[in-house]
Symmetry: C2
Amino acid sequence: MAQEKKLVEAITSMEEDFAQWYTDVVKKAELIEYSGVKGCMILRPNGYAIWENIQRELDDRFKQTGVENVYMPMFIPESLLQKEKDHVEGFAREVAWVTHGGTEELQERLCVRPTSETLFCDFYSKIIQSYRDLPKLYNQWCSVVRWEKTTRPFLRTTEFLWQEGHTAHATAEEAEERTIQMLNVYADFCEEVLAIPMIKGRKTDKEKFAGAMSTYTIEALMHDGKALQSGTSHNFGDGFARAFDIQFTDKDNKLQYVHQTSWGVTTRLIGAVIMVHGDNSGLVLPPVIAPTQVMIVPIMQKKAGVLEKANELKEKLSAFRVKLDDSDKSPGWKFSEQEMRGIPLRVEIGPKDIEANQAVIVRRDTREKIVVSLDDIEVKVKETLEKMQSDMLERARAHRDAHTYKATNMEEFEKILIETPGFIKAMWCGEEACELEIKEKTGATSRCIPFEQEHIADTCVCCGKTAKSMVYWGKAY
Amino acid sequence: MAQEKKLVEAITSMEEDFAQWYTDVVKKAELIEYSGVKGCMILRPNGYAIWENIQRELDDRFKQTGVENVYMPMFIPESLLQKEKDHVEGFAREVAWVTHGGTEELQERLCVRPTSETLFCDFYSKIIQSYRDLPKLYNQWCSVVRWEKTTRPFLRTTEFLWQEGHTAHATAEEAEERTIQMLNVYADFCEEVLAIPMIKGRKTDKEKFAGAMSTYTIEALMHDGKALQSGTSHNFGDGFARAFDIQFTDKDNKLQYVHQTSWGVTTRLIGAVIMVHGDNSGLVLPPVIAPTQVMIVPIMQKKAGVLEKANELKEKLSAFRVKLDDSDKSPGWKFSEQEMRGIPLRVEIGPKDIEANQAVIVRRDTREKIVVSLDDIEVKVKETLEKMQSDMLERARAHRDAHTYKATNMEEFEKILIETPGFIKAMWCGEEACELEIKEKTGATSRCIPFEQEHIADTCVCCGKTAKSMVYWGKAY
């Protein structure tokens, strides 16, 4: 029992210290290891396998909309980064600079891509000539680097993995349509696969991407009541096209600038999964994304026939991502480990179960124990995984809704943030001054102007002037 | 017809200038585009899709042997790179150095990984304690950077995509076994998927990897008679373990150093596919790896019913990676394009075919035309793809065998290289001096000491002293 205690005691409870709980989980579930490079994490097999599943699911969804994958260089010449004014201002201060190649000093510094708009624009200016070349719907999976002062596994790291989609279109309408389409792909993916409900909306001008005409976002609420920006989709209009001279000949033989979009999600989504679904025993992974969905734990495995039956069971469940823990650890230790790693189902099978032709399924999220006959265990496992997936989404939605509040004045606003952290819906006049004031007073930022608007009051929660729109506010990661 | 001519004329013939033919094909088949960063290529959708298929196939094969994927940082602190003496000597002169993060100068320079042995070793020293932690069988898919003076698409570029496997074992035997196992995975993959036969063998000490005890290689012969090192697998013994202090407690409670391996293949494999299978009409892709396996080209597509039937056909062939070219280009132009891109099968269907309930399958490699009934076209397409795949391997093997020669003295050796370039099998005394002399005189290098040895003569082809082994020699990319 000493061993079992050790594993569980090693986690701080979320109620005591949520940030420490998070750090404990990512380490104890062996998702990451810190590297010798400041702010850079090692994604261990348990962590990377989640990313592989995210990639596979998203990549399929992208390709269904006509997107093709490419790979761009990781280096951007300084002069290229500087071509679009707002963009360089947004990124120049946080990039890593390569100054030497081998033993020679470079004539021009190269930055390690913080994002690849400039490279895609340079590329598009070479390969787009005619309306026949449009649209271009390209995406790449890669890592990017942003020199961060304070970092946190998955949420903010110097180097991180992501995908960045970059499209070019003949018309402004088509670009706007694609921007929204990809935001919807993200939101659907998060709900259906990660079991995380999203608020969809537009960023205020203050919060939008450097160089974008408009930025759309999906925002999720974590267990501690903080918001997490989980994916963004940008409409650039023809701003980059003008800076990079990306023109095409239209059907009337006239030169036109293309209209562009970009959109991305990162390994931050893994952070969202941890902070939405995890509990004080560790990670809880939605079945669809879990690298291992079922862990079989034999009980009294040294007794004749137990391991044999457990192996048979594994064979029987091969339609799922199933593993058998036949190591020489105690069952209790194995339970703790399976729980820490968030494996959705545990199937226990021992001599008594075998005698009764049954096994015990234990759900990771509710800990519900279900005794099932070995004859129809495949069906039961399938049903239980599906039930768990939908329950997790509903639980996350209920938690978010229970932690979404309305405020009509700053007193209410501040009280909510202190007493019951969560999303705050409040009216806004549209002025950046109010955003700044709210941030200074409360630490909360505008998360988005949601597509689904509600009328909460006539006046801005901050200045009292006529309100233009309802905004989601919150403290954010 | 002017259009068709333009596309085909744009390629230099391989007989005229093989290097120019290669460059023309990678550009015209839209595999790559040059970027603004010297020596870095953009992988376009046609090129990247081949890499995606290579990844999928190889990744499955790795995982079947127990390998797990991870992701390591792209930066290596200078002090970490210097920990293993031979290794740093091999790489320090060809890395890119990051000296500034944002606006600040770094206290210690970071290099962009040229390979990640040092990072894996540092990681292993943290996570390996007991024999229970072994083996570690990790791999990562990423890009690496080596500052190259002269570059060539896929074959040698400053940044390139690859996978690097890194394993740690309890015993020397297990490490050696894994080194050979992965070499075999590569060789089987190349034969079965890329239709390229490989010579398997060991590198001489002169040609082995910086820091390795032994390096194994797979070597292929290109159409022009030059060799291409296509993948390597290294056994490090405990050299890195000693430099990085990677020790574990064995079953007898004694501290032991681990034994390590690493192994990798790169986008260079795409270069091999081009140079082994391509012809004067462009690329020829083995069906198993082709992103598009079948291109349907409607004839007289404006005639009523043709496009409808072509779409039906596409539906019927949906078990394959099939596309329909219904653009407004001429059929001749479409043929040229499909051939340039190396799409294995073209299916032509026009009004007369429809009337006769048939279509015409055209093989990309032999240009053989096969008239087939629409009733059993799925079966015929499947058979034809399979036949093409095996024919391509056999043709490549026959070409290689016909261009593999024996030499027993330097006169023969030089004559072969000048008159009939290819592999040369010749005996070697084991001394580096002879390798250097051969290289200086002929430009050829030792490709490998093949596992399948033959006795060609008693004495070294160069110095005439007693021979130790038979070696494959050749000019190499």
